[in-house]
Assembly symmetry: C2
């Protein structure tokens, strides 16, 4: 009977019903482990926000239980919140060599290096805690050194796939450890949490190697410079560019801060194979003929300040696009970035470059498992219970459907949301309650100080601007001594709207006079009268609704 | 010799290096014809802008030459600017019955109905002007009654394809008049302008009929209500929903203002075949069992205020999603709308609906020609000169490449930009000069009154908000009588930032004191001192750069 009640809690604090800020809490009695600690990029409506991180109130409250943060790989959506979270809860961080290399470089930027206990693990390692132990299993993904995690608990084994694909021919030869997944499956897995990103795509994700073949094809014929833009973290992609460059006797230069950072980390840690004389400084590219040069750069998502965007806009200090340059954008636009990427492609074409991108050639493969790969993992691991993770609701729902098609009963599947407490016993899985969870906005130095009111105001300001009305009145009498002055920003072009503003002032004067006649002296009432008269006047004249900010000075 | 100099001018005022606001001027001596008059939706950076229309300064200057606006079809990017343009130049508008039906309903909204000379044409019609004549040729597209235009001029024939695809089995049986294109080709076409939208896609665009088959498949098995979202203007798509509904004995209700408007136009003009009792009011849907209902609705692009979005967010007054509803999103997200569409899909899934969309089934086909169709048209028309139109630069460039692969010489191809004057003689094509062109922003009632300064301010406000500093000083002495008061919006959460604001006030006081001591009395200098001291203080404290608006009142 007592055994029956033994339960594990799974509490996702991020990564469910969203792409990004992955953070999963696994709790057994007085022990908590955290899998991943990611950030996400703001939505369009989150005006002025730099990044979004998970709300970790629950971890702060239970800080004594937290034994560590266990990282599956080094992508921002899995490690990006670490600098913020570690300032709140300083716990050991476990990850593979490359992952921790990237983490360390990030912590340095935040002035946190050295103060965090980074514990380097390799595939197959098992970290024994008091009650649970955490095993790292080799997987394939679009960044090297990716891991799945198996948590061995008294209730049963929990497998978290992390982000993964099944690549039989990975660039570094480190093939996903399907045998270990199978072994765990044989032993009996209580619960699997698996990546849902590509669940809508039938078939298989192609091997990373296929991109290398495309590179070789273009390198073989390019008569001038080649510029390849890709994700800085995609070490294997970068390796393939270097391999093709060396084959065709081209020098390689690096452009873009994050690309330089990651290259440094990856080369120091031995993740990049490159001949001694291949790498040259970006300052030296003009010392070689065009057909001897490859530039690897950031900006594959069209990010406005990235190196490639600056090249495309003729604003890059060191690289000027020359007609005949071949530019390979080795990435797909992440949803939301399509227009930015398209703008860069247009600009590059206009400058006479040949631009190669996903619509035209196989210059990118995904890092996530498609349907057949998901079926393979489900079949090997054969978990008793299943929780789809890493995806919007549509993905989670379809991943649940896929599990059902493979024979799992609906009652053994839970589609959870961030903050849900999912309780798993040997024989049951169910949601039981909620903890605090949500989005914490990082804006400049502020973490969490921009909330919904500030964002609502920014949205309002962004649509129709602001109109400030200043009035100085005499204390006691309420007599207007100076003003009203009206200053607008982002509403109308001031010089062409003098009449409108003059009319507005007259209306404000009228409203003030009426207030005085009616002996309305309370500021809030005067302000709301002024606001209302302006609001309806401006809407009638312009069909716009600027923010109206009346300011009364009393002397 | 004199004949040699006879030339036609082609002046695109919209639609080049962009998707939208198509407007092409064809000018021969004292005669101008305008092909299409479209709007486009604002980019993300055009904050608060409702729509964007072409700058028609050139047409206003040459209004006496303009013989008419000739419409290829009724999509917004081809007719949407008409209400604004016709207010400036009241010229006859030629178009097919459905196109003009849609135009008329649009003009009514703008209070312009009746004051515009709408001239209804049908495929094959030739409008003879003084020097040119304009021939309409049947095409296929994602809206019924679409036309290409052949302009017969003394210099030669100009063919403008409009938006088109080659659909051998269109819903209304009105097949694209390939024979006429071939005939013109035989006769000799001087210049072709052709749709470039889908030039990156190999192969053929599928027939609209394939979507009907998908509908039938889902209608055959749906056990509850079916809700289909699509573009209001896609009459053929709507017809196919109705046909499937009637086959499976379901009633059809319409939701969404633009869908209702277009249905009314299309039914009045006989473009929709529907049995007498099929259509019911949206108010009556609950009088029938779920398996007897189909709702056709707007919102296939996830537009926040659309009917489908309101259903998804449980905010629709008349339709509440019920678990088991089948929702078909019969459209692809237009670039930039991916996230909006995804949000709607997630919300619908969460409410228990089965959602069918492009990733899961063939519920949409494009209205534009893919590579093989473009090759067909090029081969039939065999123009001497070619100008790719309707596309971003990347599309125009690739369409030019496609024409070259078909044998056209690069010197016979011009990739133009909006405003370019392209001169065509019997033997030559070249760009010769520029006319005014550009984007005119429509914001509420304002047409063109929001320019770059206002947008720059809106962007600034949207990122970090605004901080208003008000000071009342004594005339002459410059002594501070009241203030400084600081009010912020969209910058920080006011209640949590009292200390910051207090410190800011102290700094402003200090700056004012310093100004007084240094006998700085000019307002602009005082203001810039205050601005600078606040700017650097706030950036240091928050790494944010709100707009700072100092206001000095003098009494």
């Amino acid at each position: 009977m007592r055994k029956e009640k033994d339960k594990i809690k799974i509490i996702p604090l991020g990564g469910l019903s969203e792409i990004g800020k992955n953070l999963t809490v696994i709790e057994y009695k007085d022990e908590i482990i955290v899998i991943d600690c990611g950030m996400e990029f703001p939505d369009e409506e989150m005006l002025g926000i730099d990044i979004v991180i998970p709300d970790i109130t629950y971890l702060k409250k239970n800080v004594n239980k937290v034994k560590g943060i266990f990282l599956t790989h080094g992508h921002e959506d899995h490690i990006g919140a670490l600098p913020y979270v570690l300032k709140e809860i300083n716990v050991p961080v476990y990850g593979s060599k490359l992952t921790l290399g990237i983490v360390d470089s990030k912590l340095k930027e935040h002035g946190l290096s050295g103060s965090v206990d980074l514990k380097c693990i390799k595939a197959g390692d098992v970290i024994k805690l008091n009650r649970m132990s955490v095993e790292f299993i080799r997987t394939s993904h679009s960044i090297a050194d990716s891991m799945a995690i198996a948590v061995h608990t008294p209730v049963g084994i929990i497998v978290h796939t992390g982000d993964f694909k099944v690549d039989y021919t990975p660039i570094d030869g480190c093939v996903i450890d399907l045998a270990r997944f199978a072994e765990l499956g044989k032993e009996g897995v209580l619960l699997m949490l698996a990546d849902s990103t590509n669940v809508e795509r039938p078939g298989y994700t192609m091997s990373e190697k296929t991109v290398g073949k495309t590179f070789q094809k273009f390198f073989a014929v390019a008569k001038s410079r080649i510029i390849v833009a890709t994700f800085a973290s995609n070490i294997h992609r970068i390796q393939q560019v270097i391999t093709a460059a060396e084959k065709y006797r081209r020098k390689v230069a690096i452009s873009g801060r994050s690309m330089e950072n990651i290259m440094e980390v990856a080369m120091n840690l031995g993740y990049i194979k490159i001949r001694k004389n291949t790498l040259i400084s970006i300052d030296d590219i003009n010392k070689y003929p065009g057909n001897k040069i490859v530039i690897i750069t950031t900006g594959s998502q069209g990010e406005p300040m990235s190196a490639l965007s600056r090249m495309a806009a003729c604003e890059h200090k060191k690289v000027t696009i020359i007609p005949g340059d071949t530019i390979i954008i080795s990435a797909n636009p992440i949803p939301g970035n399509e227009k930015l990427v398209s703008r860069v492609i247009n600009q590059l074409f206009k400058q006479g470059a040949q631009v190669i991108y996903e619509a035209l050639a196989d210059v990118h493969v995904s890092g996530h498992a498609c349907q057949e790969e998901l079926k393979l993992i489900h079949t090997l691991v054969k978990p008793k219970f299943f929780m789809p993770v890493h995806g919007e609701y549509r993905h989670l729902k379809q991943h649940a459907d896929l599990a059902m098609k493979l024979g799992l009963s609906p009652k053994n599947i839970v589609i959870a949301d961030n903050g849900d407490v999912v309780e798993v016993t040997k024989n049951s899985i169910r949601k039981n309650g909620k903890v605090v969870s949500g989005q914490v906005f990082v804006d400049g130095l502020g973490v969490g100080d921009v909330g919904n009111i500030v964002l609502r105001d920014r949205r309002h300001l962004s649509q129709d601007g602001i109109l400030t009305v200043v009035i100085t009145i005499e204390k006691g009498t309420g007599k207007v001594i100076a003003g009203p002055d009206i200053i607008s920003r982002g509403f109308v072009y001031v010089r062409e709207s003098e009449d409108l503003m003059e009319e507005a002032k007259q209306l404000v004067r009228g409203a003030l006079k009426e207030c005085q006649e009616k002996h309305i002296t309370e500021w809030s009432s005067i302000k709301s009268n002024v606001k209302e008269v302006l609001r309806s006047f401006l809407y009638e004249k312009t069909k716009r609704k600027p923010m109206i900010l009346p300011i009364i000075m009393e002397i």
